[in-house]
Amino acid sequence: MKFWPLLWSNLKRRKARTIFTLLSIVVAFILFAYLAAVRIAFSAGVEVAGADRLFTTHKTSIIQPLPKSYQDQIARTPGVVSVTHASWFGGIYQNPNTGFQGVFQAPVEPESYLAMYPEFKVTVAEKKAWADDREGVLVGETTARRYGWKVGDRVPVQGTIWRKKDGSKVWEFNVRGIYTGDKTVDKTQFLFHYDYFDEARQYGQGIVGWYIVRIADPKQAADIGKKIDANFANSPAETKTVTEKALAQGFADQIGNIGAIIQWILAAVFFTLLLVTGNTIAQSVRERTAELAVLKTVGFSNGAVLALVLVEALVLTIVGGGLGLAIGAAAIAAGDPTHGFLPIFYLPSRDAIVGILFVVLLGLVAGILPAVQAMRLRIVDALRRA
């Protein structure tokens, strides 16, 4: 690495320019990291969906309820390992405007629901405490942090759809457990007892929102789905069974082509960045025509000159890009910028790797033209021009 001093003094030559170029690369890669996280947020769940979990919903729409009696029939369908259910609660906590947005609240069967979602990590003691308390609620880490709840707190939630038999809208719950999970797990959920809910609600007894079904062989998913739906064909509440992945994909599709628009933004940013960086490097080579000619005169080969310019570009992009990705990752880890509207928000490792590839690619693409120019430089011309 005997050329380092040479490289270093080249970069130091126009300090302001080097620093600004570096900073714009940093910014671009912070953006890159953010956009990757946003893309994940909008396609939430699609990539991590369990292949052995199916969703059985009402055929017309997921907001139509299904009878509780379907549970046993589904459980008896060949290929089904276990069944649990959940329903939409849609309550408000404190402020009606910001209250509970982004928090999925559902009455569930504690045992079978947790068995269905082994990715929810909860201690044995808390699990038992939740199962034992009819008014108990299991809360995701993110939600607990957002409202400052801890185990033992009593939380009043205002039902908007559901009221109690006595006409009151307020449902009170005891926080009995806080679950965690890795970054791909939705840690916003608010899960309470279906039995308590069903008994206390004013109307709608014996209905649930949807069923979650675990099957033995993911390859049989389509067949088992058809069998489940066949159970209820021509009944008043026909069903539609899809894989969890298909459901998540469907939901992402419902939000629409925001993802495509984000790709456009990424492309625009990178095009701009390429121009800025490429231009800066080209400029610095142009200014050094005479020096490069001298280097060649004293015996530097064409290849060495090419490498020198290219490495200079790479140093700039790798330092800037590395910093940008690191800052981006740190900012993303600190939480999503919409204050809880995007429950899953993280930088996937795959995108981090793509980012690093981009960094190298950017250095190569931005450096190659000026490097080739420098390589092709004829000593006589260059010295005359200078």
Partner: protein, 402 residues
């Protein structure tokens, strides 16, 4: 003063005339700023279009009655007899809803459900709102116009489809039949509603919809046409004070104005971060360009200074160049955003009702102005330091260096 001005003009003129000689870096700045402005305007135009769709819906002369504590139409329930009580409240306009019939209170009890329709672009199912209405619904929404086909007939399994829904979802053209649950529905017509959210919906007779969704004699909301916007308070009081009812009353325009908060918050939160980060990046680009512009003009600037031109003239010329580049960039960016995104139709989920809203991106003049102002700020910041540097250049040193 005059001399000073002529100096400024002379130096600025040279600066601008020589931009073509510094084509590369200048172009990089223009493109950089164009990119920032285009992205900024595009992102905000999503929010703008979404807001417009929701806010043009709803007239201040209409009141919307829901069960107290409901967050959205989707969550409300009103049973049959309270609907009749509401129709008798003070302040409701009267009119005949069908030609030749006697005048009745203009109130429409409505059901709001969602049905599955495949999206045209992806073929995947989406929740499309299906609204059951009563005859007065049309009198309460005079902006609604049937542009194709005919109205549905009351009591039949017929539907009217909003133009936005027809364009975004499959199988909703006049004459086609769709099956939801146990019923088969025939599309009899297409309507527009001046861009309002109803264009995303499908309408039918509430009395036909009730049994097919097992709603008994219940509705979700009542829309009432008032005698005048001022009659609202009287109407609201008479309902909220009625012990037989437990309802909340809003102006229809207020209700829709509050809808779409989740999406708005997401767009604003993300749009803000995007704009700030891209702006910072663009400022660095502009700084680079202007420093190199100053470097390229060192000899010229020093010569001018030696001839007796003042520092201010030099500062102004550098700033002017930076601002002109920013202006050109923002114009290109705004034009791009307008060409590509204005009127671009799409649909997305309204998290408040869990149903699809179709809307068009709206690049408004005020967004264009915001984009240009933002670019000028970038141009200013990107020009000011190089300008000071140019002005501080010691004349003799600069002449020697060049």
């Amino acid at each position: 003063m005059l001399k000073w001005l002529s100096q400024v003009f002379a130096v600025t003129g040279t600066a601008l005339r020589t931009i073509p000689q510094r084509r590369g870096p200048s172009l990089a700045t223009v493109v950089g700023i164009a990119g920032v402005v285009a992205v900024l305007i595009a992102v905000l135009s999503i929010g703008e279009g979404f807001r417009k769709t929701l806010q043009t819906a709803g007239s201040p002369q209409n009141a919307l009655v829901m069960r107290a504590g409901s967050d959205s139409e989707m969550m409300s329930v009103l049973v049959g007899d309270s609907v009749d009580i509401i129709a008798q409240a003070k302040g409701i306009a009267r009119g005949s809803v069908r030609a030749g019939e006697a005048a009745v209170p203009l109130s429409s009890a409505e059901l709001f459900v969602v049905v599955d329709c495949p999206k045209k672009t992806t073929g995947t199912p989406a929740n499309v709102p299906l609204r059951g209405v009563q005859p007065a619904a049309f009198a309460a929404r005079p902006e609604l116009k049937i542009i194709e086909g005919r109205p549905f007939e009351w009591g039949k399994n017929e539907i009217l489809v909003g133009d936005g829904a027809r364009k975004q979802f499959r199988g909703l053209d006049v004459g086609s039949q769709v099956k939801w649950g146990e019923n088969v529905w025939t599309v009899t017509g297409i309507f527009t509603a001046g861009g309002a959210v109803w264009e995303s919906e499908i309408w039918t007779d509430a009395r036909v919809l009730q049994p097919s969704y097992r709603r008994g004699n219940s509705f979700q909301t009542v829309v009432a046409r008032l005698e005048s916007p001022e009659a609202f308070d009287a109407f609201k009081d008479s309902l909220t004070k009625d012990p037989r009812l437990d309802v909340m009353v809003q102006r229809e325009s207020e209700y829709f104005g509050n809808q779409g908060r989740t999406l708005q918050a997401i767009i604003r939160g993300l749009g803000f971060i995007l704009a700030i980060l891209m702006g910072i990046g663009a400022v660095f680009g502009a700084l680079n360009t202007m420093y190199s512009a100053v470097a390229a003009r060192t000899r010229e600037v020093a010569t001018l200074r030696a001839l007796g031109f003042g520092r201010v003239a030099v500062v102004v010329s550098v700033m002017a160049e930076s601002l002109v580049l920013a202006l050109v960039g923002s114009a290109v960016g705004a034009a791009l955003a307008w060409l590509i995104f204005d009127g671009y139709r799409t649909s997305t989920l309204n998290f408040d009702t869990f149903s699809q809203v179709t809307f068009a991106f709206d690049v408004t003049p005020s967004l264009v102005v915001q984009g240009i102002v933002f670019a000028l700020v970038l141009g200013f910041v990107g020009g000011v330091f190089p300008a000071i540097r140019a002005a501080r250049l010691p004349v003799t040193a600069a002449l020697r260096e060049a």
